[in-house]
């Protein structure tokens, strides 16, 4: 089964898009799941284009396709086709399919290996992405450095040969460094990430390996390892062209955060998103070479925006993921899933506190703990455990000993 935008009148497409805009999160995730199963995506991408920001927050489980794997390292650079402009950072989404098709054609036997490796896999399986990417990304970067404009490029993107060259080189520069970046992200998540010296050494080596300006690489780095912002802007240790690209890369990253400040519904993922945003803002506001007084109103505004979104997400998740399903989970003997949801909330709260709202979080957690402890369903020990996760062991022991 395929979906062809060409066979769909523009008015019908708009009608469908409007209908999608009013669907619930769950319905949208299901629709995207159906579209992901289509053999040819055709107009599917056009159909869901207006929902991209919402999908980025929802992060529905998506199959790991060749195109998705290829462009995972470039994800922080993706912008809607009409928004992309020559001379500015970013990779238009409309470029993905034609470029991926051409890379597939050029890679030969490696494509079969990659396909076999990712068959049945999911895009959120970080270990699989890292493993398959380690095989694909360097080879794809080498191919992109020398192949010409793909067939159907103009029709798919509305862009010319010069734009193609810019996009291909920008993508290649990120792909060629992607294995290191993803390994560093993983190590960072374990608390064993690169220290300042290692980051500085890598940054110098990486930027010198590519002839084009390193803006794209820097923007990706800011999204993946935002603590690097301090190094990016510490001009004395960086080559002049790196320093010159730092400002556009930071602006690009801030644009993206402003466009989509709401963390997704998965609290653990949301906490990680907020942590990265906070690390970037802290780096930009810390005294030192990366601090720019002119940028302060913008970072302060973004901090407030993120704080509000984080509180709203926390309140919604507490109600939807812990309090609402409490009775049913207790009756079904599924308190473990509730405990995991409560842990996710604590992760989000710990990240959110860095933006402010301490009293807000304390109040909400205390209220929820009281509600669960005093007249909640489940055994006393089960309720005490939930209370412990939400507000700590003192309250749990008080409940237990009452």
């Amino acid at each position: 089964m395929t979906l062809h935008a060409a066979g769909l009148p523009a008015s019908a497409l708009r009608h469908l898009q409007r209908a999608l805009l009013t669907t619930s999160d769950e319905q949208l995730a299901r629709i995207v799941g159906v579209l992901d199963k289509l053999e040819g995506r055709g107009g599917a991408d056009a159909l869901i284009a207006p929902m991209r920001n919402r999908l980025a927050q929802l992060r529905p489980a998506r199959p790991l396709t060749f195109t998705r794997l290829l462009f995972t390292p470039v994800d922080p650079l993706l912008v809607p086709g009409p928004v992309w402009a020559r001379g500015r950072l970013g990779v238009p989404r409309t470029a993905l399919l034609p470029v991926a098709t051409q890379v597939r054609a050029e890679l030969g036997g490696l494509v079969d290996e990659a396909d076999a490796m990712i068959r049945g896999g999911r895009a959120d399986d970080a270990a699989l992405v890292r493993r398959a990417g380690a095989m694909l990304w360097p080879a794809a970067a080498a191919v992109l450095d020398h192949i010409g404009q793909p067939k159907g490029w103009l029709e798919a993107t509305g862009l010319g040969a010069a734009e193609y060259a810019t996009i291909a080189h920008c993508t290649a520069s990120v792909l060629s460094e992607a294995v290191w970046i993803h390994a560093a992200m993983r190590a960072s998540a374990e608390g064993l990430g690169p220290d300042a010296d290692e980051l500085r050494a890598w940054l110098e080596a990486a930027t010198s390996r590519h002839p084009e300006p390193p803006g794209a690489l820097l923007a990706v780095l800011l999204a993946r390892l935002p603590e690097a912002v301090v190094l990016i802007e510490s001009a004395p240790s960086q080559p002049a062209r790196t320093a010159a690209q730092a400002e556009p890369a930071i602006d690009f990253r801030l644009d993206r955060l402003e466009a989509s400040p709401q963390p997704g519904p998965d609290p653990t993922e949301a906490a990680a998103t907020v942590q990265r945003a906070v690390a970037l803002l802290n780096g930009l506001e810390a005294p030192g070479p990366s601090q720019r007084p002119s940028r302060k109103p913008r970072t302060e505004q973004l901090r407030r925006q993120l704080d509000e979104c984080c509180r709203a997400r926390f309140a919604e998740n507490l109600a939807r993921q812990v309090l609402a399903p409490l009775a049913e989970a207790a009756a079904q003997g599924e308190m473990e899933s509730l405990e995991e949801a409560a842990r996710g909330l604590r992760r989000l709260e710990m990240a959110g506190r860095q933006l402010g709202g301490e009293e807000h979080y304390d109040r909400m957690l205390r209220t929820a703990a009281r509600q669960i402890g005093e007249d909640g369903p489940g055994s006393l020990v089960e309720r005490a455990r939930l209370v412990e996760i939400l507000v700590g062991s003192d309250a749990a022991l008080t409940l237990l000993r009452r």
Partner: protein, 333 residues
């Protein structure tokens, strides 16, 4: 009290590894306080900075360093309320841990595992008890065993060597430590940096403990295989026999957690081996006597450098640390 170069003389002084779930108490040990100390139970906490050294504090003051979880509070309440703490040994702490976990204080997974362990132990106990009573009956004796001591002996033997080739807990753990001694250096060959160093270090320590425990187990099994002699000796000197038989258990104490840590390896193997290196049980001087090692061996082992571990000292991830520790409880066999 912080002691940087911690070198206990005896295994009892080293304390008993407790299955704590509080992050800061991971790898901590409990021991009876000295007489007239003003408190009954002490906790020996590995340096939270992930470097050499331990804190030794009265359990009642542990709240100054951390907020013990509900599970840990119940565990110590159970121990303090029930026991003559001078008898504190690995078997007693383990039993209390299972009982508390079976009540659900370490989550549903921990409760299920603990209930299964308690059931299995009852079966092993019954097997060993039947055997001991039959030996007792064959060798007519007027002596009536003290019920509590008899129960302790039966449980101890059931952990070490069961009749008819049934799997006892101690040999299974020795095998697991042996597997760890192979797995960690294997893993380290593809790594570099502090994690590789830590993996080699823990692998070497596992190999030493595996050798030592195998040696002590062989001696204990030889005794158990002569049950009439064993019982005769036990009637004369119950404490001495128990102590001799429990040497393997004392040497292995703390290694079950290391085995489980590697099994779970959260949030990843590199950070796990660094944590394991920081939690390696020290060898008290007494181990030299038990294993016929040259004097100074234990102190030499204690001097190994510990690579610093950063991840688990991060206070923002307490819930994850507790969840990981509870998951270890769910894996206990």
């Amino acid at each position: 009290m912080f002691i940087e170069a911690y070198q206990p003389k005896t295994f009892r002084e080293r304390g008993v590894s407790a299955p704590f779930t509080t992050p800061l108490l991971t790898g901590a040990r409990l021991r009876a306080a000295p007489a007239r100390a003003g408190h009954v139970l002490e906790v020996i906490i590995p340096n939270p900075a992930g470097r050499r050294g331990v804190y030794i504090v009265p359990w009642s003051e542990s709240g100054d360093l951390c907020r013990p979880t509900m599970h840990d509070a119940r565990l110590t309440e159970t121990l303090v309320g029930r026991l003559d703490l001078s008898m504190l040994c690995p078997a007693i702490v383990r039993q209390a841990g299972w009982e508390v976990a079976a009540e659900g204080h370490a989550g549903r997974g921990g409760a299920t595992a603990a209930q299964r362990v308690l059931r299995d132990n009852a079966v092993r106990f019954a097997m060993m008890s039947t055997r001991l009573y039959s030996v007792l009956a064959e060798h007519e004796t007027d002596a009536a065993p003290d019920p509590a001591a008899w129960e302790r002996l039966t449980a101890l033997l059931a952990d070490i060597h069961l009749p008819e080739g049934a799997a006892a807990r101690v040999p299974v753990l020795i095998d697991a430590v042996g597997a760890l001694a192979v797995a960690l250096p294997d893993w380290a060959t593809a790594q570099s940096g502090p994690a590789a160093t830590a993996a080699q270090m823990v692998g070497t320590a596992a190999r030493l403990v595996h050798h030592g425990a195998t040696y002590l187990l062989r001696i204990a099994v030889a005794q158990i295989d002569q049950p009439a002699t064993l019982l005769r000796d036990w009637f004369v000197d119950p404490v001495g026999v128990e102590l001799a038989l429990s040497r393997t258990e004392w040497l292995l104490d703390g290694w079950e957690r290391l085995v489980l840590l590697w099994q779970v390896a959260l949030p990843g193997p590199a950070v796990t081996v660094l944590e394991m290196a920081a939690l390696l049980p020290v060898w008290p001087d007494e181990a030299e006597v038990w294993l016929e090692l040259p004097a100074g061996t234990a102190a030499h082992l204690a001097r190994r450098p510990v690579p610093p571990s950063r991840f688990w000292t991060d206070p923002t991830i307490t819930v994850d640390q507790i969840a990981r520790n509870e998951r270890l409880r769910a894996l206990v066999t």
